[in-house]
């Protein structure tokens, strides 16, 4: 950036209220962060986009510029749309369930009771576990023949025949959602618990004095105060669950009948099994764009909420 423009210099001085000699220093100090970000974030994204315009394949040794051809192919690829749909549905359902359950957990953990700190710590165990371990565990729990879930459902009389959790296209997706919710609801609870603690106690006391019952206090006092936290936590979760990979990869490999194929598993297969780097990069670019749309969607609500608050 050139600082020879006096107007600009004036403006910078006004906004940063720094002395003129501090400005180059500030830029120099920013440089390491900028370089690091450029190297690990900007460059790979741009390079990925550039690759998506080529027919690069390691196996066939093609490497030509093909313009938007990969994107046209993608648009007419039923497997891509199938994975895209699953990923969107998964993101929406998992995020919603995790937020609701996490909120419930946060409210309970906010109240003081004997052994609260123990419960708070224990609650984080599912989240702290490596996902591959979670996947293996759910593989056993939901085993169609000998799984404890089927046994419980059968013993309690809820079902008469074993449910084929992983072998049926209808259930496999549900099972993966359940596993993800189990694993990450505690993370949501933690974020929301932090949010709850920022709600001023005076407000709660005031509502009690006004004769509000627990539900009214929650609905009219706590929840509105919690909205910003909810939105930010929801955005984290949504962006994270959009990349769902390990659970699917370990449990079902995308099957049966492509019913659990997500964008991450599909791009892994395209990039690393078939080594089609061009086409795979187009897939990743579309994934990235979809994530941006999700982030913007949440961002709009968050900004609006913050403006209203301030």
């Amino acid at each position: 950036m050139s600082l020879s423009n006096p107007a600009l210099r004036q403006q910078m001085r006004a906004t940063t209220s720094a002395s003129p000699s501090a400005v180059p220093w500030a830029l120099i100090l920013l440089l390491p962060a900028a370089i690091a970000l450029g190297a690990v974030a900007v460059y790979p994204i741009l390079n990925g986009f550039w690759l998506s315009l080529r027919d690069t394949s390691l196996a066939t040794q093609d490497d030509n510029f093909v313009g938007l051809e990969n994107y046209w192919l993608l648009a007419s690829d039923p497997l891509f749309w199938n994975a895209w749909r699953h990923t969107i549905i998964f993101t929406a359902v998992a995020t919603l369930l995790e937020t609701l359950i996490g909120l419930g957990m946060a409210i309970i953990l906010y109240e003081s009771f004997v052994g609260r700190s123990l419960v708070r710590a224990a609650m984080l165990v599912p989240w702290a576990m490596p996902t591959v371990v979670t996947s293996k565990m759910f593989g056993w729990l939901f085993d169609g023949q000998n799984g404890v879930v089927n046994w419980l459902l059968k013993t309690s009389g809820l079902i008469s025949d074993n449910i084929n959790w992983y072998g049926s296209p209808d259930w496999a997706f549900v099972t993966i959602v359940i596993a993800d919710v189990w694993k990450t609801a505690p993370f949501m609870a933690l974020l929301l618990l932090a949010g709850l603690q920022t709600v001023p106690h005076s407000l709660i006391e005031a509502s009690k004095i006004d004769g509000a019952n627990a539900w009214a206090t929650f609905w009219h006092v706590r929840l509105p105060q919690l909205t910003a936290t909810l939105l930010i936590a929801g955005m984290f979760r949504a962006l994270d669950s959009f990349r769902i990979f390990d659970l699917v990869y370990v449990l079902t490999g995308g099957g049966p009948a492509d019913s659990t194929e997500t964008l991450s598993t599909l791009s892994y297969k395209t990039l690393f099994s078939t080594l089609q780097f061009g086409y795979g990069s187009a897939l990743s670019t579309v994934m990235f764009l979809t994530e941006i749309v999700i982030a913007i969607g949440f961002g709009i609500f968050i900004v609006r909420k913050m403006r209203r608050a301030s």
């Binding site: 066939t60 490497d63 169609g144 490999g253």
Partner: protein, 440 residues
């Protein structure tokens, strides 16, 4: 590199990175570790490198190389260690990155049978026709030679194999007064009879998970009906033809109609399908040769001594087929030391080496005669009984686009097995696969 008597340095394994090798030296450096190269070698030997997945124990491959190095004084082989075969995606990547550089490293390599056409199609594998006479090829199983041949040229040398096979509970067969089934119909009848009598929970277990193993099961059933997935030229797509449709319909019927297989097979690969069988719940199991060791071990199996391996059944008008797996040898087309590379590859594929590999490491020979060898019968009695099973060895579709073809097959067949809509799923698969192989 010749100036370095201590063996190759890491930098010679990772030469200057070209424009296409964008994955770069770092990735290859992580995937490959140079092992066993810091050994003094006799002066004047030709230096060649051998890249291989890490089979069996950590040192099994290194030991074979050592044996070769000390057996002669002209060639010295160094080992480029790839990940174990269980991580075949990584092994594949590692090999592709090396071979794509076209700089002659590695001189010799081992490859999964399903990559042979891909490497040959890319021009990375040296045709070996002038080194292996037609008569010499007869010493190998015909299915393996078929898998090693691309567009009429022999581009790989057989090393070791494994195939699908039928495990039967001999005690239950005796109870039913039946012999090992020859046809699928017989197998269904025996299974149903024993299931209805309450002697077994399941009739037949196989692997229907949307994964590579599903394609292995598929190849076996289709070939046992005289069908194929691709024609011999690798271009004709035959997956929508009657023999293939009837085969997939049979797979579907084992779950939906005859109910000899539980619906869970649709999510099972090798181990989940093996456990109920060795737990005593099933009459028949389709699996690879590794199961025999577990099934006969009383510590891991409740049916030890009651299990027999046999060729898989076939349709009334077909022949038994066994999906071929295993790693075969390739010589780099860009090798700078062709004579030495060929010599080493031929040595690795020789009867003597294969016998050692089979007796000591349990990797089954690709030469049928060796299965009659007295030493093998002593060291690996179970393996020596598999000669007939391996006779049915049938390659998966031979095409350089196999990685894409298999994903399309897995998707389509998994859909067909889940919905029962076999004909339309297979004709959709035909369109998709035809557009994939048309480009090769």
């Amino acid at each position: 590199m010749s100036k370095n008597p201590g063996g190759q340095t890491v930098s010679t394994m990772l030469p200057a990175v070209g424009r296409r090798q964008f994955l770069g030296a770092t990735a290859a450096g992580m995937a490959l570790t140079v092992a066993g190269t810091r050994r003094a070698r006799a002066a004047g030997r030709s230096e060649i490198s051998f890249a291989s997945a890490r089979f069996v124990g950590k040192s099994a491959v290194a030991k074979m190389i050592e044996r070769y190095n000390s057996s002669q004084s002209k060639v010295h082989v160094s080992y480029i260690e790839l990940p174990p075969p269980a991580q075949s995606t990584e092994v594949h990547q590692g090999l592709v990155q090396q071979l794509a550089r076209r700089n002659g490293t590695p001189d010799v390599f081992t490859q999964d049978v399903i990559w042979i056409a891909e490497f040959a199609g890319a021009g990375w594998a040296l045709p070996l026709d002038s080194y292996v006479a037609q008569a010499a090829r007869k010493a190998y199983y015909p299915g393996v030679i078929q898998a090693c041949t691309w567009q009429g040229k022999l581009t790989a040398l057989p090393w070791f194999l494994d195939t699908g096979m039928l495990y039967c509970r001999s005690d239950l067969l005796a109870k039913a007064g039946a012999k090992i089934p020859q046809t699928w119909d017989q197998m269904v009848a025996i299974s149903t009879q024993l299931q209805q009598a309450g002697a077994a929970k399941y009739g037949y277990l196989w692997q229907g998970k949307q994964a590579e193993v599903l394609v292995c099961n598929l190849v076996e059933v289709i070939a046992s009906n005289g069908g194929a997935i691709l024609g011999p030229d690798g271009k004709d797509v035959l997956i929508d033809q009657d023999p293939a449709v009837a085969a997939v319909q049979f797979m579907y019927d084992t779950i939906a109609k005859s109910k000899i297989s539980p619906a869970e097979v649709l999510s099972w690969d090798e181990e989940p399908s093996r456990r109920p069988f060795t737990g005593g719940d099933a009459v028949f199991l389709r699996n690879w040769s590794y199961v025999d060791g577990i099934a006969q071990d009383p510590a891991q199996s409740s049916v030890a001594g009651k299990v027999e391996a046999a060729p898989l059944p076939h349709f009334a008008n077909g022949k038994s087929a066994a999906c071929l797996g295993g790693y075969q040898l390739g010589v780099n087309a860009n090798t700078k030391n062709r004579e030495a590379a060929i010599d080493f590859a031929l040595w690795m594929s020789s009867p003597e080496t294969q016998l050692v590999l089979a007796s000591e490491q349990g990797l089954a020979p690709t030469r049928p005669d060796l299965l009659d060898h007295a030493d093998l019968a002593k060291a690996q009695p179970a393996m020596s009984r598999l000669k007939q099973v391996f006779m049915g060895a049938t390659p998966r579709p031979v095409t350089p686009r196999y990685p894409q073809v298999t994903l399309a097959l897995q998707s389509a067949v998994s859909r067909a097995l889940a919905s029962g809509d076999v004909k339309s799923e297979l004709s959709a698969a035909k369109t998709r696969i035809a557009s994939i192989v048309a480009k090769s």
